[in-house]
């Protein structure tokens, strides 16, 4: 009996605590469904009197919201594809070849995990400008693709693939690229899936980089657009909340469908976001 009571108490505490983590998101969603009058009514209504999607329609008609959304999708997809390709190649080289400089390059990658973009944003900005990548979506796709985290993840995983597999393929006369693409990549599916999900999320949620690189409004990603929207003199909360919800949807969908990979990915690496 005593135990049962204790259990109920524990669950209640846990449940109340977990509300702090979901209610804000739910509240944003509910607010986004209210009319522009109701949203500021005081006392506030908890549930909307009339559920309306007009905020979403206004947001989409306003400015270039569709463009921002498209830019974000393009950046996230292109950056993820590039990340997957070059990280898996580099990870493979570091995991499965004993070449001169292997240790040094690996150390260099790891060491730069300590250099966040925030520390080098000034010189990077200048490099991008000189390469003509300033105010270009490619300027936010290419540089983060060589992420040390990704290389590290892939390398750690690929070291567990037995060397015999590669050697026998080599004896059969398979080319190095063929071994990589036909044997190594299929065997590394778990880590590549995790990297795909993480990379998509990182790029979708990126802010500082796009904020520094993009100057033209037609190039904005959704995050930059929202931040810019907040900065305006009077905040148009109706459209802002709707935009906020739309910006959440892709990552929430990814989360819903690939939940177990997140746990795996974090556990595999103990690495940064």
């Amino acid at each position: 009996m005593n135990n049962k009571l204790k259990n109920i108490l524990w669950y209640t505490v846990l449940l109340l605590f977990s509300l702090i983590f979901v209610l804000p998101i739910i509240w944003i969603f509910i607010s986004s469904l209210k009319t522009s009058n109701e949203i500021f009514s005081w006392p506030p209504t908890i549930l909307p009197n009339n559920v309306t999607f007009s905020n979403y329609i206004t947001a989409f008609n306003k400015g270039n919201f569709v463009t921002y959304f498209k830019n974000s999708i393009f950046v996230a997809v292109a950056a993820t594809a590039l990340t997957l390709l070059i990280n898996s190649m580099a990870g493979y080289a570091l995991a499965k070849f004993d070449f001169k400089g292997n240790k040094l390059i690996f150390f260099l990658f790891i060491a730069t995990l300590m250099i966040p973009l925030q520390v080098i944003m000034v010189p990077i900005f200048i490099v991008l400008r000189n390469l003509g990548l300033y105010n270009s979506l490619w300027g936010i796709i290419i540089p983060p693709a060589a992420t040390p985290t990704g290389v590290f993840l892939v390398r750690q995983y690929m070291t567990t693939i037995p060397d015999e597999v590669l050697e026998s393929a080599r004896i059969d006369g398979a080319s190095e690229w063929r071994i990589f693409s036909m044997i190594i990549l299929p065997l590394s599916k778990p880590v590549l899936t995790a990297l795909t999900i993480f990379s998509f999320m990182w790029r979708w949620n990126d802010f500082l980089w796009p904020f520094v690189v993009l100057s033209n409004e037609s190039k904005y990603t959704i995050q930059v657009a929202i931040a810019n929207f907040v900065g305006q003199f009077s905040v148009d909360w109706n459209s802002l909340l709707a935009m906020n919800i739309v910006a959440m949807i892709p990552v929430l969908l990814v989360f819903l469908f690939f939940q177990r990979y997140f746990v795996k990915g974090i556990a595999m690496s103990g690495m940064k976001m």
């Binding site: 570091l94 070449f99 300590m114 520094v212």
Partner: protein, 291 residues
């Protein structure tokens, strides 16, 4: 023939990543170091001024204010995040009902961008329209100027940061906990060790490697924080939530003083490096947990 191919192959495989890495990380890091010794407004060419920027930095009262403010923010965020994520992990690692559900809920905010999170809290904490002040009102309390008062704004920025990150480190701790063999607890149970003793002598020491990663990463992340603050408080009221990274951004892209901004970046890098070394040293003290 295939030996030769095997020799050249790794270089070709690593090349694309290395080129991008070199151009966009290694070179900028070195270049930024150089720029910190120059006076540069981007339009003209950089002029070498030796330690000028650093001297200016050390003599600037504003810099020290911002630095101490940043340290208060970081050293509030890190211990709270650390403690909370560890407690949640220990609770949700046990065989309780609906643990998957709870884990997902605590993990949820870590999926969202700091921009989205900042906007959300700004909406909730609004003075005249925010739901939180309404709840206070219902409870018969006076409304609080959450984000327009320096003190509460700082607290809420710290709170939002913890809220956003705790689930991530919880998952890391859960992974760490699952690496601790169950027999240790069984043995301790037989010896009559209390739950607290089990935590103190088994869980905590064996979690040390995970703890180190969590402390190092959460420290770096806190120092990096930009987007959340940008939309939640815009560094205000006044400049009460303006931290080092905000200041670097302003000096570089609004004032246009690249040298001074780079000198601050170098300082940030040194601070991060020193803190990481200290964290490793502290963690190594007392030897290996398994001994």
């Amino acid at each position: 023939m295939y030996r030769w191919k095997k020799k050249i192959a790794p270089y070709l495989f690593i090349l694309p990543n290395l080129i991008i890495f070199g151009i966009f990380i290694v070179f900028p890091a070195l270049f930024g170091f150089y720029v910190s010794f120059t006076e540069w407004d981007v339009l003209t060419s950089p002029e070498f001024i030796g330690l000028g920027n650093f001297i200016k930095l050390f003599q600037s009262a504003e810099f020290w204010t911002i630095l101490s403010r940043t340290l208060i923010y970081v050293f509030s965020v890190v211990p709270i995040t650390f403690g909370l994520s560890m407690v949640l992990a220990i609770i949700l690692d046990r065989n309780i009902k609906a643990k998957g559900f709870f884990r997902a809920i605590f993990y949820l905010p870590t999926m969202l961008s700091f921009i989205v999170i900042g906007v959300s809290w700004r909406w909730i904490l609004g003075n005249n329209f925010g739901i939180l002040n309404y709840l206070l009102d219902l409870a018969g309390m006076a409304p609080v100027n959450w984000l327009t008062n320096a003190r509460t704004a700082t607290i809420m920025v710290i709170f939002a940061t913890v809220w956003a990150r705790v689930g991530y480190f919880m998952v890391m701790f859960i992974a760490g906990l699952q690496g601790i063999p169950g027999v240790y607890y069984e043995a301790a149970e037989i010896d009559g060790a209390s739950k607290w003793q089990q935590f103190r002598h088994i869980t905590f020491p064996l979690l040390k490697p995970t703890s180190l990663v969590v402390v190092v990463l959460s420290t770096i992340q806190a120092f990096k924080m930009f987007g959340l603050i940008k939309v939640m408080t815009t560094g205000g009221p006044g400049d009460s939530t303006t931290y080092l990274v905000q200041e670097i951004y302003q000096q570089a892209f609004q004032v246009g003083d690249m040298g001074y901004a780079s000198a601050m970046s170098v300082m940030l890098f040194i601070i991060l490096g020193l803190l990481t070394i200290v964290q490793f040293k502290v963690s190594n003290r007392g030897g290996n947990a398994y001994e």
